[in-house]
């Protein structure tokens, strides 16, 4: 189980990745996160919703309503140009973060 503190800074990145190719909605995104991480990370509904709102305010995603199988209108989210730029930056940032933290990780215990 991962601590949510560590992952918090990259939730936006995860969502943006999932929106890169096509718009999606709340449950689908949470499901794909669960599947992609082999159930190692399960995003809480409140975490996801607050991420949506934050990203909307930051202009990284936009919402629109579409309809889905149960006939209920569902809120869809799509990535914006600013969102794509932000995503690229976060990817670079992660590379560096990974490198930095890596220096302090002991692989073999003597």
């Amino acid at each position: 189980m991962i601590s949510s503190d560590v992952i918090r800074g990259y939730i936006d990145t995860m969502i943006l990745y999932l929106l890169l190719n096509e718009p999606s909605y709340g449950y689908e995104i949470s499901k794909r996160i669960r599947e992609l991480t082999d159930e190692k990370y399960i995003i809480k509904e409140t975490t996801l919703y607050s991420a949506f709102k934050r990203m909307e305010i930051n202009g990284h995603i936009e919402s629109f309503s579409g309809s889905e199988t149960y006939g209920k209108p569902r809120t869809y989210y799509k990535i914006t140009e600013a969102g794509k730029m932000y995503y690229k930056e976060k990817c670079k940032e992660w590379e560096i973060t990974k490198e930095v933290i890596e220096k302090f990780i002991l692989r073999e215990w003597k």
Binding site: Y25, G26, Y27, E28, K31, K44, T46, L48, Y49, S50
Partner: protein, 324 residues
């Protein structure tokens, strides 16, 4: 499914009904229902599915900042809360009593009219009646009208007394229904706006026109009696304009109080000195008016104190606001 809905209802219990909160609740419910349906489809038992959905829901604290509900979650407001019903009752009672209050003011302003007419007629016709008789009759009517007006004011002010806190103290609309209440007030205010604005413009036109009789009569006719009668005409126009203004502005006034705008803003209400000064000021002006009028019997002139006092009051208010 009902269990999930109830759970969410409970989580949102006591939160303000703002648009953001309602939207969040709706979307969270959709996400939970999606998850529930899929768990059921994959063969999970009802209870197990519900258990998973609820355990993975998270915590509303996470949404506090985004939804602007921090204050509601912490629930530490010690400011007076005004509920939807209270607001509705206040507007209703204000509207109900307005025509009667307006009538009281009309009687008060009109009270010297008969006296003035009789004095003027006496001068004009030179009837052989004793002046005292005219004065006595006019005064009797004046005092009767004032008495009726005062009894009106006492009756209605005691009815509206329970709402004094709305006008005097700083309050908040109850956060649970804040959005709904504010929408209701703004809706009523918008609906009334046209009628209110036309009432104000008609009354202002009346006030301006009311000056004409007293100004023009002495210029055109050089007769004392007519001048006295012209004051009666002026007072009548002022009285009707004021009646119109008070009775038609009740809705707007009530909404202004509830939205804490203008002289009922949080800033003005916090200024206790101005509140005291206002009360004392108008009492003193009334005392001066009555004393001067009764001692000198210059009813034809003494009414001027009202417009003058009004303008001076506006100046005092402006100065007080700048200081605070």
């Amino acid at each position: 499914m009902n269990t999930i809905r109830n759970y969410l209802d409970n989580m949102f219990l006591g939160l303000p009904d703002t648009e953001e909160v309602i939207r969040a609740k709706k979307e969270l419910l959709t996400m939970m229902e999606d998850k529930y349906n899929e768990l059921k489809d994959s063969g999970k038992a009802e209870n197990e599915a519900i258990g998973i959905v609820i355990s993975e829901f998270g915590n509303l604290d996470e949404l506090a900042e985004t939804l602007g509900i921090k204050h509601a979650l912490e629930n530490k407001s010690d400011i007076l809360q005004v509920t939807y019903e209270e607001a509705e009752n206040y507007i209703e009672d204000k509207v109900k009593t307005a025509p009667k209050t307006a009538l009281g003011v009309l009687l008060l302003i009109m009270s010297p009219v008969l006296l003035l007419l009789l004095l003027g007629l006496k001068e004009l016709t030179n009837v052989n009646a004793k002046e005292d008789l005219f004065i006595a009759a006019g005064l009797a009517v004046l005092i009767a009208m004032v008495a009726i007006a005062v009894s009106y004011f006492i009756r209605f002010s005691s009815k509206l007394e329970k709402y004094d806190y709305l006008e005097e103290t700083v309050f908040e609309l109850d956060y649970k229904t804040e959005y709904k209440t504010e929408q209701m007030i703004r809706g009523i205010m918008a609906q009334d706006e046209h009628s209110y604005k036309s009432a104000v413009s008609i009354s202002v036109a009346g006030y301006i026109l009311s000056a004409l009789p007293v100004i023009l009569t002495p210029l055109i006719f050089d007769i004392d009696g007519l001048s006295v009668i012209s004051v009666a005409v002026t007072l009548t126009i002022v009285a009707i304009s004021t009646y119109n203004l008070i009775s038609k502005s009740a809705v707007n006034a009530a909404c202004t109080v509830l939205l804490q705008q203008g002289e009922y803003s949080v800033k003005s209400k916090s200024n206790k000195t101005l509140q005291t000064v206002t009360k004392v000021y108008w009492l003193v002006i009334t005392a001066i008016y009555l004393a001067y009028s009764f001692i000198t019997f210059n009813w034809a002139i003494s009414w001027i104190i009202w417009p003058v006092a009004g303008v001076i009051f506006a100046a005092i208010q402006a100065i007080a606001e700048q200081r605070s």
